[in-house]
């Protein structure tokens, strides 16, 4: 493998000095880019795109060709894992992901097995290796997975939900079954992320998209401990380099101190928390990734630049900040606003990294 030319992102994750604040954007390879839409059209479907290492590599690299980003993230979907568990992922046009066989019956839950990632998830592992080769050491590659709680939500509901009725029925009515699903899913995520690291992922991120829908007590019972177990079992070094881990619970700002103690090197923040307050609360124990409201990218270049500077200013001087949005980039984002964002952070952040 080529030596890494730009390791700013990895250094910031480990709270080592950098010259500027590195940037990547959740869902940076996505529908706001016309070149992504063209590849997606050629693939025929979103799932075909995910399942083709060559096409996944192509779209992963597209935003890097346009913007001065400091990391690539594997193009994939968090629901590949439940799909590999046999739930039958499909995408009904305009409806979001669904499973043919949601997990509701006790016998099905008891039969659930963690998939061998080298078998049913081979296409993801191959994509990681192919992207890593294609990047040729330009920037690091981030691997990722959904959190056990978030994956379990989708598996039980069978689709996205506003109220997570079925999940909550199980959590409060049959917590033993919920914990069984979480145990198996945790095993699956550990194996999946370790296989991504083995194949070349230089950092990994766990997306807990739905943990923020829980009460604090439920979050501390059903989501955070499983992420902590993943952190404890991930491969720590690969080729002599530490592989940093990021966890992100959207809506988890109230529980920040607890999340920061789960064993991750960095914590993702949505846009509802002030990143300066967050920095004070984590007391230098972890790096912070975030946290501009993605919808600001739908407005004017002036507003984008102003808000990017506001996030940098709130974080303040020193390392440990990875600039990102507080949620995935909207499909309606004008690509030129992303350029303004990335260039603003690159230039304006230098002042925050000079020796005082």
């Amino acid at each position: 493998m080529s030596a890494l030319k730009n390791d700013t992102f990895l250094r910031a994750l480990m709270r080592q000095p950098t010259e500027y604040t590195p940037t990547w954007l959740m869902r940076q390879a996505g529908r706001y880019l016309p070149e992504y839409c063209a590849t997606r059209a050629r693939a025929g479907s979103f799932l075909n795109l995910c399942k083709s290492p060559t096409l996944a590599t192509e779209v992963t690299l597209q935003p890097l060709a346009r913007y001065n980003l400091d990391a690539a993230i594997l193009f994939s979907d968090i629901l590949t894992v439940p799909d590999a568990m046999g739930l039958g992922l499909y995408f009904a046009e305009g409806e979001g992901p669904k499973f043919e066989r949601p997990l509701r019956e006790e016998w099905a839950i008891r039969n659930l097995q963690a998939p061998n990632p080298h078998d049913h998830l081979r296409y993801v592992i191959d994509a990681v290796a192919e992207i890593r080769r294609a990047l040729d050491g330009s920037v690091p590659l981030i691997g990722f997975s959904g959190s056990p709680f978030t994956l379990s939500c989708y598996m039980i509901e069978g689709q996205g939900s506003d109220s997570y009725t079925e999940v909550k029925k199980m959590m409060y009515g049959r917590p033993d079954l919920m914990h069984h699903i979480l145990e198996v899913t945790t095993r699956a995520v550990i194996d999946y992320l370790n296989a991504q690291i083995e194949a070349g992922a230089q950092a990994v991120m766990v997306f807990d998209s739905w943990g923020g829908m829980l009460s604090q007590a439920a979050y501390l019972e059903f989501s955070l401990p499983y992420m902590a177990r993943i952190m404890a079992e991930l491969t720590r070094e690969r080729d002599g380099h530490v592989v940093p881990r990021i966890v992100f619970t959207k809506g988890g700002g109230l529980w920040l101190e607890k999340i920061a103690a789960c064993g991750a090197d960095a914590v993702g923040l949505d846009w509802t928390i002030d990143i300066g307050d967050a920095r004070r609360r984590v007391e230098g124990k972890v790096a912070l990734q975030g946290n501009m409201d993605p919808n600001i990218l739908l407005t004017t270049p002036e507003a984008v630049a102003k808000e990017a500077e506001a996030v940098l200013t709130s974080y303040g001087h020193g390392t440990g900040h990875i600039f990102n949005l507080g949620h995935g980039i909207s499909q309606f984002t004008p690509p030129e606003n992303v350029s303004v964002l990335v260039e603003t952070v690159r230039e304006k952040s230098r002042a925050f990294h000079q020796a005082i």
Copy 2:
């Protein structure tokens, strides 16, 4: 007017001693009750139900006939105010509320006027008076309004939204127009709530359903100051009794200390915050209302009782807690679970109110 037979709710709001923790439930008159569905069917539509003082009175009283609740809340909709501003509220079957004329053009925004509540909102004021008579002093009546920010969101989007794209475009691109809408809406809410108080509402609540979608900076610019202005301009006493005010920003747990300083007597909490932590953070400055996850009502009576006790225990000993859900009750709630909830709180809370 009859003397109030049960003022437990009002005393708890003012942090005066009570014998038990009072309870009411957001959306307690709603689709989970078969008698509500029957009245709604007779009305022909949800809007007809809101616009008939007699039918609104009927459904307001239905949950009180079933359950040992300590307050009634006016049956109405937060969008009556923008409707009275001429935006043309309608409900497409199965689609949620919409406006015929969303606020997008500068000329329309500049023409916006706060409605006289005795004119276009006469039906609400009449309903307050009729409900108050029908209650005959049994429990207090809560009046309510949407917050200026939440109402403005609906007015600009023209319907509910996940991303509030149009609102955010305006907030970040034309903050002057956003503030103008908020100013007019704030005036409208003050007049509306004061008219409800004049007609007999014994407490009022401001629902900031969407403020939690904002960044902290945006919340402190576009939502909280307008609620603070409402608090400052509401009628404080009526017939020699203080009229307590409750504010509730769903998803506002991160900003609790700031919300608690806005001039309200009580702050509503969603279920993501631990109510004991919240109590420590507000340092006795306000009462707290909440905060059980409403989806627990979809599970078993045992789980309902257990979680209700957990909320009481977390709040702990002493007054200043009004038991409620962290969000409106789900239409799929079995009515018998509500009975378990209300009885559990009534009985189990007594121990928390005995002199130590």
